[in-house]
Amino acid sequence: MRVELTVNGERREADAWAGESLLYVLRERLGLPGSKNACEQGECGSCSVLLDGRLVCACLVLAAQADGHELVTVEGLGEEAGLHPVQEAFAETGAVQCGFCTPGFVVATADLLARNPRPSDDEIREALSGNLCRCTGYAKIFDAVRLAAGS
């Protein structure tokens, strides 16, 4: 089947098998492997993307459901001038180790700060509780969110 969607501001089309998830189509058909596949059941947040401005796990959305909709992935988060402030902050504070969870965290954090520019520590913890990181113990991720919120 044919899927048409706007990804990071660009019209894109893909030929997909009906059972393919949005995540599969992004990664394997549209050349956008930034969104990661770590659990395929919406538990880890590694595939977080913005679907019509709403934070979703791309593994839980069928590609067909995204037909005609607008997507932002980690690849489209930065501005023309360079990195998104959240990306800068993650790099600066040591919030990245293996980095596999990072795209998901970056997208989820950008979404949090867009809704709540000055989140409290509890609000940060709750907002990011759907994103798993196995390397950092989250401390430097919290530093990154605070840094990005202050910038």
């Binding site: 059972g19 969104s35 538990e43 880890c44 980095g99 113990g137």
Partner: protein, 747 residues
Amino acid sequence: MNAPARTLELGRVGESVKRVDAIPKVTGEFAYSSDLFAAGMLWGHTVRSPHAHALIEEVDISEAVGMAGVHAVLTHTDVPGAKAYGLEFADQPVLAIERVRYFGEPVAIVAAEHPEQARRAAERIRVAYEPLEPVVDPERATEQEPIHDGRPTAGHGFRDDPRPNVVRSIVIRHGDPDAQGEVTVSGVYELGIQDQAFLGPESGLAVPDGEGGVDVYVATQWLHVDRDQVAPCLGLDPEQVRIHLSGVGGAFGGREDLSMQIHASMLALHTNRPVKMVYNREESFVGHIHRHPAKIWMEHRAKRDGKLVNVRARILLDGGAYASSSAAVTANASAFACGPYAVENALVECACVYTNNPPCGAMRGFGAVQSCFAHEAQMDKLGAELGMDPVELRLRNALAPGDSLPTGQKITGSFPAAEVIRRAAALPIPEPEELPRDALRLPGGSGNTTRGEGVRRGVGFAVGFKNVCYSEGFDDSTAARVRLAASDDGIAAVVHCAAAEVGQGVVNVILQTARTELDLDEVVLGSATTSSVGSAGSASASRMTWMAAGAVQLACRAAKDELERRGGDLEHGETIDVERVYHHRPTTPLDRETGQVTGDGAHVAYICAAMRVVAEVDVELGLTRVVWIGTAQDVGKAVNPQAVYGQIEGGIAQGLGLALMEEIQTQDGLITNASFTDYLIPTTLDMPPVEAQLVEEPEPDAPYGVKGVGEPPTVVSTAAVASALRDATGRQLTRVPVRPDEIVGLP
């Protein structure tokens, strides 16, 4: 919390330097092993055993072979070379032959155009099994039928233990094992199976070179040992198999063993097309080894003043179906069984057995985690028995340079156990937070299960230690290659080292070392591959910083010497290219009968950490909340302080997970919770703030005085969290993860 350091871009040893891969990782450009693509690529899939133990009567691939899009269906008869492999012992079949020994064991492999076609073809492969009684109780394994023919691990210099299903057994006799104390405490402790749960699943791409060889792009911890296992199974020379490090989504020991490397290579060579394999999460849970579950019996005998007289320990590790690195884990569990304490008399008996449970091997802490949980529970118990402050008790017994371990090995390098205990104990703990408070800061969290009634607070303490680098005579050397060339701004350097960057930040260690040694900013890191440089050894055993820094330092100094010989400058087009190999000081095996050191000693050096934990428990529901963790860790010298704090915080999270929630559950050997829905790892809501202090006492033998930092936080945090829960509940809590049932119902 540890203040975020401002990072430098091009710093030297001792400075916080932004990761060289940070920007590609935050933008999504960094290519992990599951992101790879090649033109004409096929997808591989693995058919796995649904049984923990069964005979294979027949594998019928006829239906699968003819399916649309399917290019290859292979079984053990298609393995071109050696039929079995293994890190230490080649006891694991590439594809099962006649018998499967664990749930999820690979039986056949498929390559197809689309991953779904490969999955569907795999479903059409008919495997006729005759189920056998699985060996699942490690306490009975040594009396049951052997699950391997012959004795795969016998004859390697190990103590002769003729019982069936023994992977390795060790007895350490030190001083007078019958020595009596004035006070005795004993206990039996258990740990469940922990999973590494790295986020990036096993994956990679094998590309045939058209001349019979193959290039494998993969996430691994040791490129050269992968090659040395892959090549014989493919019937190829090592040079025909080139292993290249792809982006690694975490490792924690779980990528020491092979996963899809041989399978993808077989499919690629068979089809003459690139083949990609990516495990899903469920498959990942059976696709790698786990942390050994353990049962530990311990008795501590002490004087009334708290001085330990004798420690007697019996440790049983369940190694699962294949040996992996179990023999070395057994050695660690034994050698560190008494904790970082000076004990003149000890008897430690440790056995690891084969069963039909999930295979176990390396995970961060490597045997020391299990022992630490037991010896620290015992120290708490002894403190309570003596009415002595737990910190004071530990200080009174703290192991120091000049003291000997129960193996008889004398500590000759830095070992500030007393200092980490003092520093951790001195960290002020937060005052209890007033009620009412937000449910997020109560046990049960956003589940909103309590307003604070039934909530009790406890403070725990623990100390732990382990070795750095490989042990018992293993020469895990590291090579580095430095190439200097003239550039527009003077001289530029390229450094090659096959050290696996698994997230720990060794890429920065290499670059910071090279910049320091060459006094040069213009340093570029070459890609890690078996084709351009010698072995780096494994990104394991907290060794990679020490060994990579040592190798890069040697190579840089040799390059500088050569540059000087040539007058201090290079013409355009002129290069200097040198490779050097760094060895740590030699070690020797333990005596097979007494477990005492022979020759130079079994270990290279030791690292320790102490930790203080505040926790709250809801005794109505058995729910827990860790409130705060403070730690002091012996790091030798912090090459990149920001990364060291990151290792400590992350390592603590994994130990907290084992204490509170992480366990692979099995029923008759079958894993019942192979998903992130059912196997829980700590989230942002589970992790408390961590206050960490670095104790920098340089290691005399090591470059810049570095040690290793990855493992001690994981070794000690399970024990420290359990200690806090014990303080809060007054219960023994002898098993981790601690279950709600063990906390509820307090009067």
